[in-house]
C-alpha cells in the first residue's frame, strides 16, 4: 500500500477511534439535529411543510449539525497541541485535509442516518417513488458541504471569534447546494420529473470545485 494511503488510513482511524472512545461529537450532533427537526415540525404545525418540504427541514438540520460536527472534530486537534505535533510529522497537508474530510463525512453519514428517517416520518414524506435518488442527491450535497466545512473549521479554529463564525462562513457558500438539491427533489417528488440537468450539474460542479480548492488551500489556513 502506498505511504500516502497508509498515512491517510492512520489519520482517519485515529479520528474515528477518538470519537468511538469519547463519543463527544456524535451524540451531541444527533440530538441537535433531531431537536431542529422537531422544533421546525412543531413550528410549521405539520401543515405548511408536509411531504417534500421535509427536504428543506432536513437541510437546516444537516447544516447546523454539520457545523457543530466540523467544529468539534477540529477542536480535538487543538487540545494539548495535537495539531502542532501532527504538523511536525512528514504528512502532507493535503493528506491531512482528506483524512479530516473523511472523518467528518463518516460522522455526517451517521447523523444523516438518524435524522433523515425522523424527518421523513414527522413530515409524512413518501420516499417510495425514488429512494435512491433522494439518497444520492443528499449525499452529493453533504460531500460539498463537508468539503468547505472542513476547510473553514481549520480557518475558524485559529481566530479569536470562534462561536458562530463557522456557521456564518459556511452558510452563504453552501446555499447553491441547498437550492439545487431542494429544487431537484421538489421536481422529482412533486412533479415526477427525473433528476438531472442543471441542478445535478450544480451539485457535481460544487463538489468538484470545492474539494479541489479546499484541498489546495488547506495548507495555507492550517496553523498550530
Amino acid at each position: 500500500m502506498p505511504l500516502v494511503a497508509q498515512q491517510f488510513l492512520l489519520l482517519v482511524g485515529k479520528d474515528l477511534k477518538i470519537e468511538a472512545r469519547s463519543r463527544q461529537t456524535i451524540g451531541l450532533v444527533i440530538v441537535l439535529g433531531l431537536l431542529i427537526v422537531v422544533v421546525l415540525g412543531l413550528g410549521l404545525g405539520g401543515g405548511a411543510a408536509v411531504g417534500f418540504g421535509a427536504t428543506v427541514v432536513l437541510w437546516v438540520a444537516y447544516l447546523f449539525s454539520g457545523v457543530l460536527c466540523f467544529e468539534k472534530t477540529m477542536a480535538v486537534e487543538r487540545s494539548e497541541s495535537a495539531l502542532a505535533a501532527l504538523m511536525l510529522t512528514p504528512i502532507s497537508r493535503g493528506t491531512l485535509y482528506l483524512a479530516k474530510l473523511t472523518s467528518n463525512l463518516a460522522l455526517m453519514a451517521a447523523v444523516a442516518l438518524v435524522i433523515t428517517p425522523a424527518g421523513v416520518l414527522f413530515f409524512s414524506f413518501d420516499l417510495s417513488a425514488a429512494p435512491f435518488t433522494f439518497a444520492a442527491v443528499m449525499a452529493l450535497g453533504i460531500v460539498g458541504f463537508a468539503a468547505i466545512g472542513t476547510l473553514f473549521a481549520a480557518v475558524v479554529s485559529s481566530t479569536r471569534l470562534q462561536g458562530g463564525l463557522l456557521a456564518m462562513m459556511i452558510f452563504p457558500v453552501a446555499l447553491p447546494l441547498v437550492i439545487a438539491s431542494t429544487q431537484l427533489l421538489i421536481h422529482q417528488f412533486r412533479d415526477g420529473l427525473p433528476v438531472g440537468g442543471m441542478g445535478l450539474g450544480v451539485l457535481i460542479a460544487f463538489d468538484a470545485i470545492f474539494l479541489t480548492a479546499s484541498w489546495l488551500m488547506f495548507e495555507l489556513v492550517l496553523e498550530p
Binding site: T159, P172, I209, L220
Partner: protein, 244 residues
C-alpha cells in the same frame, strides 16, 4: 498626500458629481418613459451599471487575493479588502433599487426570484468576508484567511447564479430598449464605473496608510476613530492605548 495629489482627487470627485448630474438630466429629460412600467423603469439606468460594477469589484477582490497568495505583498491584500468593501456597498444599492423596482412592478418588496436571490447571496458572501477579516488578529494571518475566503466566495458566484436560476422567475426574459434608452444606459455606465473605481482607490489608499502605520490596527478599530467634534479638545477622555 501631496498638494497636487489632493487637488487631483478633489477634481475627480467634482467631475464625477457633474457627470452624475448630466446623467440624471439624460435619464429624466432625454429618455422616454417605458410603456408598461412608466417612470419607475428609470431606476434600471442605475440598477444595471451598479450590478455590473459589483461583479467587477468582486473580480478585483478575487484576482488581488490570488496575487497576494502568490506574491505575499501586502498591497494586494489591501486592494482585495478595498474591492470587497466596495462590492458590498454597490450590492446594497443593487438590492435596494431591485426591491423598489419589484415593489412598483409586482407589488411586493421581496420575491425569491433568481436575480434578487443571487444579489442577496452575493451581498452576504462579501459581508461575511469583511466580518472574517475583522475577526483575525495579525496582519499576515488576516491577509491569508481573507484571501482564501475571497477565492472561495468568488468560485461560489457562478454556482449561486446557476442554482438561483432553478427558482421560479418573474423577471422579464429580455428587455427591448429604444435607441434613446440604450444611449442613456451606456452613458450611465461612465459615472457609475468611475464612482466604483474612485471608491476602490480611496479605500485602497486608506488601507495602505493604515498598514504603513507602526503597530497598525484595522481602519475601523476604536483607536482609529477620532473623537466627535464636540469632544475635539477633550484629550483626557479620548480612547488611548491605555484605555484599550
Amino acid at each position: 498626500m501631496s498638494g497636487t495629489q489632493s487637488k487631483l482627487v478633489r477634481s475627480f470627485w467634482i467631475a464625477l458629481a457633474l457627470l452624475f448630474a448630466a446623467d440624471m438630466v439624460l435619464i429624466f429629460r432625454y429618455t422616454p418613459d417605458e410603456r408598461s412600467m412608466g417612470s419607475i423603469q428609470k431606476i434600471f439606468y442605475l440598477h444595471l451599471p451598479v450590478a455590473i460594477n459589483t461583479f467587477l469589484a468582486c473580480l478585483i477582490a478575487f484576482v488581488a487575493s490570488i496575487a497576494y497568495l502568490w506574491q505575499r505583498k501586502g498591497w494586494w491584500d489591501d486592494l482585495a479588502a478595498a474591492a470587497a468593501r466596495v462590492a458590498v456597498q454597490l450590492c446594497a444599492v443593487v438590492l435596494a433599487t431591485g426591491m423598489v423596482w419589484g415593489r412598483a412592478a409586482w407589488g411586493v418588496w421581496w420575491t425569491w426570484s433568481p436575480r434578487l436571490t443571487f444579489s442577496l447571496v452575493l451581498f452576504l458572501l462579501y459581508v461575511v468576508y469583511l466580518v472574517v477579516r475583522s475577526s483575525v488578529e495579525g496582519r499576515e494571518r488576516r491577509a491569508i484567511i481573507g484571501s482564501v475566503y475571497a477565492i472561495i466566495a468568488f468560485l461560489d458566484v457562478p454556482l449561486v447564479w446557476l442554482s438561483a436560476r432553478l427558482l421560479p422567475d418573474i423577471h422579464p426574459g429580455s428587455v427591448q430598449l429604444e435607441p434613446a434608452m440604450k444611449l442613456t444606459l451606456a452613458a450611465s455606465f461612465v459615472p457609475v464605473t468611475l464612482l466604483a473605481a474612485g471608491l476602490v482607490f480611496s479605500r485602497f489608499v486608506l488601507n495602505r496608510t493604515a498598514s504603513a502605520a507602526p503597530n497598525s490596527v484595522p481602519a475601523n478599530h476604536p483607536k482609529n476613530v477620532p473623537n466627535p467634534p464636540f469632544l475635539a479638545g477633550a484629550k483626557a477622555i479620548r480612547l488611548t492605548d491605555g484605555a484599550l
